[in-house]
Symmetry: C7
Subunit: 102 residues, 7 copies
Amino acid sequence: MSTATKTVLKPLDDRVVVKTLEAEQTTASGLVIPDTAKEKPQEGEVLAVGPGRLDDSGKRVALDVKVGDVVLYSKYGGTEVKYDNEEYLVLSSRDLLAVVEK
Amino acid sequence: MSTATKTVLKPLDDRVVVKTLEAEQTTASGLVIPDTAKEKPQEGEVLAVGPGRLDDSGKRVALDVKVGDVVLYSKYGGTEVKYDNEEYLVLSSRDLLAVVEK
Amino acid sequence: MSTATKTVLKPLDDRVVVKTLEAEQTTASGLVIPDTAKEKPQEGEVLAVGPGRLDDSGKRVALDVKVGDVVLYSKYGGTEVKYDNEEYLVLSSRDLLAVVEK
Amino acid sequence: MSTATKTVLKPLDDRVVVKTLEAEQTTASGLVIPDTAKEKPQEGEVLAVGPGRLDDSGKRVALDVKVGDVVLYSKYGGTEVKYDNEEYLVLSSRDLLAVVEK
Amino acid sequence: MSTATKTVLKPLDDRVVVKTLEAEQTTASGLVIPDTAKEKPQEGEVLAVGPGRLDDSGKRVALDVKVGDVVLYSKYGGTEVKYDNEEYLVLSSRDLLAVVEK
Amino acid sequence: MSTATKTVLKPLDDRVVVKTLEAEQTTASGLVIPDTAKEKPQEGEVLAVGPGRLDDSGKRVALDVKVGDVVLYSKYGGTEVKYDNEEYLVLSSRDLLAVVEK
Amino acid sequence: MSTATKTVLKPLDDRVVVKTLEAEQTTASGLVIPDTAKEKPQEGEVLAVGPGRLDDSGKRVALDVKVGDVVLYSKYGGTEVKYDNEEYLVLSSRDLLAVVEK
């Protein structure tokens, strides 16, 4: 997995930048996803993490994920952006569902 | 019931990972559901539990369910994911309705 | 009325499990509902009561109904479930409108 | 006006039980509503009053209406119920607009 | 202007009772509205004022308008009622936009 | 610009009264808007300013604009009113986007 | 990039004024976007920054971006305005997703 991919995006607030993992890769758990399941991976690697939102007393709420984490995210969340022919997703941490353990 | 099933998903926030119980099994109460009722089980086993959401004062609110619980959940909640040919559901604990006693 | 009906469902949060009272029964007030009114009973008996939701300071807010109460509920609230050929409704206490006095 | 009508409904939270005043009655102000205006009375008599909702500090907020008050209510609020051939409306106190003075 | 019009409605919460000013009258500023502008007066006289909503600490928030004020209100707010062949509008004070100075 | 225009409207809460600047005028920055751009000025002069909304502790939150300011506002906000053949807009201060510097 | 572009707009609240970067420019990361990607830049330069919204205790919450920052923003946020043949976007800081590092 390309943890070395650098991003020029510094997320604001509670957002993260995620690189969608392509369906022809093996999954984090090591198994190859058969072609029939290719349509819904929703899995990605965290490339950058925002400083967290401000709570009511003005303190930052740190995010629960870190750069390098593989995450499962909600299919309809986020904004797609393209840099240097690579597609990224900028997501609110609210749209992150789970960390996929390696 | 397959409490031994391991999941690679570590839920974030107040989410849980649930393994849908298939309709041809007996229910938690021991009775066999006839074929005509197969279309709405909504029952599943909790495989993983998130750390809980942060309340206004920054403390985690522990979840009311634990790994191994059989739960009834809202039919329209959650995100379906597939790993190793098994289907899982990642649900917010708000979508859990009741624990099914064994 | 079947107060002895046992349920295997332990409601979470502020939810209750209700057994819908069938329209051919007499109502709680003792009168027989004529056939023309059969289409909207919305009356049920409370079989199980959740621990209550957590308020902002982390305390449980006890529910205003108890097991055995006959309640009037909002027609569009709740989730229908079927166990052992009996239909139940899992409702948030917000969808309970009134207690029907006996 | 039938202030003697008894109701078997004990409203929960901030709800009230209202008996719709029929259009062929005179209005509270003593005037007879002509037939052409029959379609929108929205006026009713309060038969039962709930204990009030709980505020953020856990105290009950008493309702501003009492049994016997004639109230004007929002046409789209409330749930209609029928007991003993009489129609009632269970309304949140938020749907009460004004008290009609006698 | 008919400040003497009495209303039998005692508004609840932060509501006001308003008597719509008819388009064939002169406006509050003294000018006659030509026929072509008749379709959108939205101007009315305040006939009754509620006690105000309760704030979070349980105190009443007094309204910023008083009986006799001519107000401009939002066209889609409020509930129309008819008493004694006169039309009134019951409005939340949130739907009041401005006081028209005389 | 007609800062001398008087308005009979005294805005309530956090509202302002704005006089739409017509497209055939030069803009605040001194340039003439060509005809092709006439359809979206959204620029107006503040004629009257409300006292501000009440915050949670019951204090008025003063507005960030003053009479005479030229403001840019959200196209879909506000309520149009007409007095003496002049069109005005009553806007919540939330719909004000920026002050146009002169 | 035209950091020297002056704007006559002074944003209110938590808003920023952004100058959309045109697709035929190179991106902030130095690469030329091919013609096929021209339809979704969503990248812009911050020209002016508001004072920040007021939090619950009445203090301004300073923005996380400053004049000169290149930002990625949500495609559906903001209001387009045109001054002197240049198009600007007035955005709430909530619609800013990330800062593009140079």
